[in-house]
């Protein structure tokens, strides 16, 4: 799709992620044994034939930059197009040209910072993709649909029930008419009032590039900043906004609980098939580790184990990332253990998320609760 470019929002709201985002953006949280959250959105763009992707960051982006490198693992290290990192304050100048405050109250303000990048492109369409979704999707069909409907904007939604959120951000809900056109946009309604299955947006939006430029300008000059409130909701009647239903697996990572659940979803064969065994691969940074070694006496059930691990203990219903060492007599259940951790002899973990490089010494017992998993910060020693 030479006529389409991607813009990835890699700085999602992360207050609900606790220590997992202390030193990194939500999009670079390790996920699923060997990936980072951003790999899914980025691979989707690449797999849809998009060769030019801008990545909008805001803060804590060192870890993300380290992960993405030159973009070669996603085939985005290119002469034409490729990957462009767009950190705040990157455009220079003052006022409008400065791209706002760098704080980004909303996506339109973030896009203001990328307006030069957008303007210089000759793409017809832009995919605005939030990097907090775990899904595997071919955008080609959506762009076709967008063009067929002669839409100004096409939003992608899936059928889901609203869930209670700590911060009240339940999501954007679309009312869609028979033709697929959006007739109403509701933002963060209460699950107490809106019940049953709704058309819940997954923050993947197709828009014409010139229209996007105009909207960025309009929003900036009126001190408006929200893509959902100030564009999709406010302009629902005067722009042709269409909806496209995505029917595959989709998990939005916006809290420790959703992160935990989405990881555990990977233990389902159906979901693994949908995410990993399509024609569309999920790419990630390569670590060159040898395959995992399972030693005498280990017991691993219903779990994912990545390369570079040495397993001597017991692992059940868990996700074990690359380079983890599980010593004899250690028991890990319903937990997520990120890369290069060491779980020593006799230690028990249950409903615990262990961030990178953690050492849990002998005979420690750490128990979280299913709805409220315990989280250990990167590099800690227990």
């Amino acid at each position: 799709m030479r006529n389409t470019m991607g813009l990835l929002f890699a700085y999602q709201n992360d207050e609900q992620m606790k220590v997992l985002t202390q030193k990194r953006a939500l999009s670079s949280i390790p996920f699923g044994g060997r990936y980072r959250v951003v790999d899914f959105a980025l691979s989707n763009l690449v797999n849809s034939g998009i060769t030019k992707v801008g990545i909008i960051t805001r803060d804590n982006y060192q870890s993300l930059m380290d992960h993405l490198g030159s973009g070669k693992e996603w085939d985005l290290s290119r002469k034409n197009g490729g990957m462009y990192l767009l950190p705040p304050f990157s455009q220079g100048g003052t006022g409008f040209a400065a791209g706002g405050s760098g704080v980004y109250r909303g996506k339109m303000e973030a896009l203001l910072n990328a307006h030069n990048f957008i303007r210089k492109s000759d793409a017809e369409n832009v995919i605005l993709s939030a990097a907090d979704c775990i899904f595997n999707m071919d955008f080609r069909e959506v762009v076709e649909y967008h063009e067929e409907k002669d839409a100004d904007i096409t939003v992608i939604y899936h059928k889901a029930a609203l869930e209670e959120k700590e911060n009240g951000e339940t999501g954007t809900i679309y009312t869609v008419d028979e033709d697929g056109r959006i007739t109403d946009v509701a933002i963060n309604p209460s699950p107490a009032i809106v019940k049953g299955e709704v058309n819940l947006g997954i923050s993947q939006i197709i828009i014409g590039r010139t229209l996007l430029e105009t909207l960025i300008n309009e929003c900036a000059s009126h001190n408006m900043y929200s893509l959902h409130r100030d564009v999709l909701q406010r302009r629902v009647h005067d722009l042709k906004i269409y909806g496209y239903e995505y029917t595959g697996y989709c998990a939005k990572i916006d809290s420790v609980a959703t992160f935990f659940d989405a990881n555990m979803d990977l233990l389902s064969e159906d979901i693994r098939q949908q995410l990993f065994y399509q024609d569309r691969q999920i790419f990630t940074k390569i670590r060159d580790e040898s395959p995992a070694i399972y030693r005498e006496g280990c017991e691993v059930k219903n779990s994912l184990v990545a390369d570079g691990c040495i397993i001597e203990g017991t692992v059940e219903n868990s996700i074990i990332f690359r380079g983890v060492r599980v010593r004899k007599g250690a028991v890990i259940r319903n937990s997520i253990v990120m890369q290069d951790c060491e779980i020593q002899t006799g230690t028990q973990l249950e409903y615990t998320i262990v961030d990178k490089d953690v050492v849990i010494r002998e005979n420690r017992k750490l128990f979280g609760y299913k709805m409220y998993p315990m989280v250990l910060a990167k590099g800690s020693v227990v």
Partner: protein, 406 residues
């Protein structure tokens, strides 16, 4: 104008490896999968990069497609460079009597212009059949120090083993005075590892002379080295004490895979100071099913294990069904072993399909009691790439199959 390089490595990767039987039916020996995710050629290539050698010519001849695709632009080994990097050098038609590579030395001779482009001081000659970690740079420094024309890496073997190798007889300071190919009565136990450092000017001179000799078989061991010795050139051995394994036979390939499972494995694949790089299969982590049991094994990403795996090396993309048992085996990539099948003491090729309740091989002890060993396989059962074994079918120990059995 290209940058001058101090060292160019030439990797001889054209051999068929006929002693590996059906495993090399479609791929050259250096492209044979090893150790769960690697190929044999990853070892010399990674050694080059880790030794600071960034210009490598890979000479192919037999079944080069897989090898070419695998090496690609050399990116997995950091060998995609502006200057140098990895170049695949296939045989090409030249002059009136175009021909294949006649011998190892002829292969280098035919690619002389590749070496000349970099105007190197030293040329390292490597082969793609061995599993080892070696710092070639230390060897070059030794070569330089000795002022040698050629330095040959040597491994101390037992006297019995010495009859199977090229043996280097040296004086006390490692100066070679005689080279014997597979001697019946070895005088020394210094075996050539097939790793040579040559001063390029000297090698070029002897190669040109060797090419002019119509009776020469154009081989390093048979011609170049003896000729250099006869002419009184300074040849030295460089002693290598680490792990080195020739995986030229089915049994040694199986052994080398199994040695990776030892708690104190002689070859550390994850040692950050000397990593072995491979082209990445990009697969999700291994899924271990609720009834799976894996012990004393290595399992690569992308595999789904529902059955039992014991003392085995499982490559990427392998599926082992419920109730299936894999024991003492090497299962190459993308193989499917259906529910209830039993695979024991076997090497199965890439993309093999083993049907429900089929039985491939048997334990070595059991097989020994009932059967004579296979010619190349011993008591191993070996399946070629893409072999299909039907439900309930039996493949006996020692059998080597390159056709479906349905």
């Amino acid at each position: 104008m290209r940058t001058k390089k101090r060292t160019v490595a030439m990797l001889l990767a054209g051999g068929q490896g006929s002693r590996l039987g059906v495993l090399t039916k479609k791929v050259a020996k250096p492209a044979i999968p090893f150790g769960g995710k690697y190929r044999i050629i990853d070892f010399p290539l990674s050694n080059c990069v880790n030794s600071g050698i960034d210009t490598v010519g890979v000479l192919t001849q037999y079944m080069p497609l897989d090898l070419n695709a695998y090496i690609g632009n050399g990116q997995p080994w950091d060998l995609d460079r502006n200057d140098g990097g990895v170049s695949v050098l296939p045989p090409y038609s030249r002059g009136a009597n175009d021909e294949w590579y006649k011998g190892t030395a002829n292969a280098i001779y035919q690619n002389m212009h590749f070496i000349e482009r970099y105007d190197p001081e030293y040329v390292v000659i490597l082969s793609g059949d061995h599993i080892y970690k070696m710092d070639y740079n230390a060897m070059i420094e030794y070569h330089e120090e000795k002022g040698a024309a050629a330095t040959i890496a040597a491994l101390n073997v037992t006297l019995e083993e010495a009859t199977r190798f090229g043996i280097l007889n040296t004086t006390d300071d490692n100066k070679v005075y005689e080279f014997e190919e597979k001697p019946a009565h070895p005088k020394s136990t210094k075996a050539s590892m097939g790793v040579y450092v040559f001063t390029w000017k000297k090698l070029k001179q002897y190669q040109e002379a060797d090419e002019a000799d119509p009776n020469s078989s154009n081989d390093f061991g048979k011609n170049i080295i003896p000729n250099m010795l006869n002419a009184g050139e300074a040849l030295y051995t460089y002693e290598f004490a680490g792990y080195w394994k020739d995986v030229g036979t089915l049994q040694s390939l199986w052994d080398a895979n199994m040695e990776l499972l030892l708690e104190d494995s002689p070859i550390k694949l994850n040692d950050n100071s000397w990593k072995i790089y491979a082209r990445n299969p990009n697969e999700p982590p291994v899924y271990n099913g609720p009834d799976s049991k894996i012990i004393n094994s290595m399992v690569c990403e992308g595999s789904v294990i529902e059955g039992t795996v014991e003392h085995s090396v499982i490559f990427y993309g392998v599926k082992i069904g419920k109730g299936a048992v894999v024991k003492d085996s090497v299962i190459l990539p993308n193989t499917v072993i259906e529910d209830g099948a039993v695979v024991e003491y076997s090497i199965t090729g890439q993309e093999v399909h083993i049907g429900k309740n089929a039985r491939v091989g048997a334990s070595e002890d059991v097989a020994k009691a009932f059967l004579a060993p296979g010619k190349m396989t011993g008591y191993l059962a070996v399946l070629a790439d893409e072999t299909q074994i039907g439900d309930g079918i039996v493949v006996k120990p020692g059998e080597m199959l390159d056709q479906n059995r349905l």
